[in-house]
């Protein structure tokens, strides 16, 4: 967790540095770069939440849009880069929440089953 936070901090610093360096290049370049950085972070969070297994369609869409956002950045199409970054972020957040709800639902179902079995055992024991 600490490592993850440090990494996150480092990434944000890098993003800030890139932002500072490129600030004077174009009025649209800085916010586009920041949006892409935030989206990349969202994709990484989704992957560490297990989205690759639990929400493959959403995480694939998010990654695809990330790649295209980076290509747009390189081509200095900052408007398209921002649009793709915002969509990638929406996809990544959905992927992450899907993975989380799948895990919680599975755990909840398992616990309900455990509880049912336990109640049966107790009832059996009590009627003996």
């Amino acid at each position: 967790m600490n490592k993850h936070q440090t990494m996150t901090g480092l990434r944000l610093s890098c993003a800030a540095a890139v932002l500072a360096l490129t600030a004077c290049a174009s009025p649209d370049q800085a916010p586009a770069t920041a949006d892409v950085a935030v989206s990349r972070h969202a994709v990484e969070n989704a992957v560490s939440a297990g989205a690759a297994d639990l929400a493959p369609a959403e995480i694939t869409a998010a990654r695809d849009k990330m790649i295209r956002a980076n290509q747009a950045l390189a081509a200095r199409d900052y408007k398209l880069a921002r649009e793709l970054a915002v969509q990638a972020q929406a996809d990544a957040k959905l992927a992450q929440s899907k993975a989380a709800s799948a895990k919680a639902t599975a755990a909840s179902t398992q616990l309900n089953e455990d509880l049912r079995v336990l109640r049966e055992e107790v009832d059996r024991a009590n009627t003996q």
């Binding site: 915002v86 969509q87 929406a90 996809d91 895990k103 909840s108 616990l111 336990l118 024991a125």
Partner: protein, 300 residues
């Protein structure tokens, strides 16, 4: 005619243009996003567990709706609608996850409660079992003690009986104990008991009062001297005398049977005085506990 036709065309074009101007722009994605929004808005779990995500989704849908109202390009509307749709879905998933987590917490509490109840019930069962086992053990002990006391009483009674029967020289046989009232206990050729005879009968009467499930059979015998009828009569009178004496000593008459055999069943030779004396006798058979006395004929 031609003018009229062109006027209709102009009117149609105007209507078409007006229709285009007022028709709202929409896309399948925007329609889908609006429909998803209604579902999310109707899901109470969303307002309970994902209010922030739902607010962000609403804002995204507002942007898409505004773009549509401003008749922006379909691709721009579609792009904004897509973001809104994904955020609405995110709000649904977050609500689902939080609801599942709430259920996990609730089920965990219930599980702890059930386990606690199960342990309590088990402890109660164990306590009941232990109490039942203890009660059973106490009962068994009490029963064993009662049996022991009963056995001791029976042994004591048996010993008393043995001692009394010993005193009157009772002999144990298959028919029961046999007490012989010898000739010497009667007056010569008479059916009158002398004091020694009475004393022996009194001890037998004691035995009978202590053993109410026993009966007696009084059997009279003589030697072969004299006529058979005289002997039959004498044995009958002596047996009667004994039965009467026992009756007077408190033994119920229905417990006393009687039989006279005369000179039959000698126990010794009638050729000499001592043998004849042994043959002149009354035998009293004391039944075994609660049993019938087998008839003499069956023994021979």
């Amino acid at each position: 005619m031609k003018n009229r036709k062109s006027a209709v065309s102009i009117l149609a074009a105007a209507v078409l243009a007006a229709a285009c101007a007022s028709a709202p722009v929409t896309t399948p994605t925007l329609d889908q996003a609006r429909s998803d929004f209604v579902s999310a808005n109707n899901n109470p779990q969303v307002s309970t567990y994902a209010p922030m995500e739902f607010k962000q989704a609403s804002e995204a849908l507002d942007q898409a709706n505004q773009a549509a109202a401003r008749r922006e390009s379909l691709s721009d509307v579609d792009r904004l609608a897509y973001v809104a749709k994904q955020r609405i879905a995110t709000a649904q998933e977050v609500a689902k996850a939080k609801a599942a987590e709430a259920n996990i917490a609730d089920a965990s509490r219930q599980r702890d409660q059930v386990r606690l109840e199960a342990r309590t019930a088990e402890a109660d069962r164990a306590k009941r079992d232990a109490e039942a086992a203890q009660a059973a053990a106490q009962q068994a002990q009490a029963q064993a003690q009662a049996t022991m006391q009963q056995n001791a009483a029976l042994t004591e009674r048996a010993a008393q009986l043995e001692s009394l029967l010993n005193d009157i020289q009772a002999v144990k046989t298959e028919r029961g104990y046999v007490v012989t009232i010898g000739d010497v206990l009667f007056a010569t050729d008479q059916a009158t008991l002398n004091p020694n005879g009475t004393s022996t009968l009194r001890k037998l009467a004691d035995v009978m009062s202590q053993n109410p499930n026993r009966t007696v059979l009084v059997e009279g015998f003589t030697d072969s001297t004299g006529s058979a009828s005289h002997n039959q009569d004498l044995s009958q009178r002596r047996a009667e005398a004994v039965a009467t004496a026992l009756g007077q000593m408190g033994v119920a008459r229905d417990r006393i049977s009687m039989k006279a055999y005369g000179q039959a069943f000698p126990v010794a030779s009638n050729d000499n005085a001592s043998g004849r004396q042994q043959n002149r006798r009354v035998e009293i058979v004391l039944s075994n506990e609660g049993a019938q006395i087998p008839p003499r004929a069956a023994m021979r």
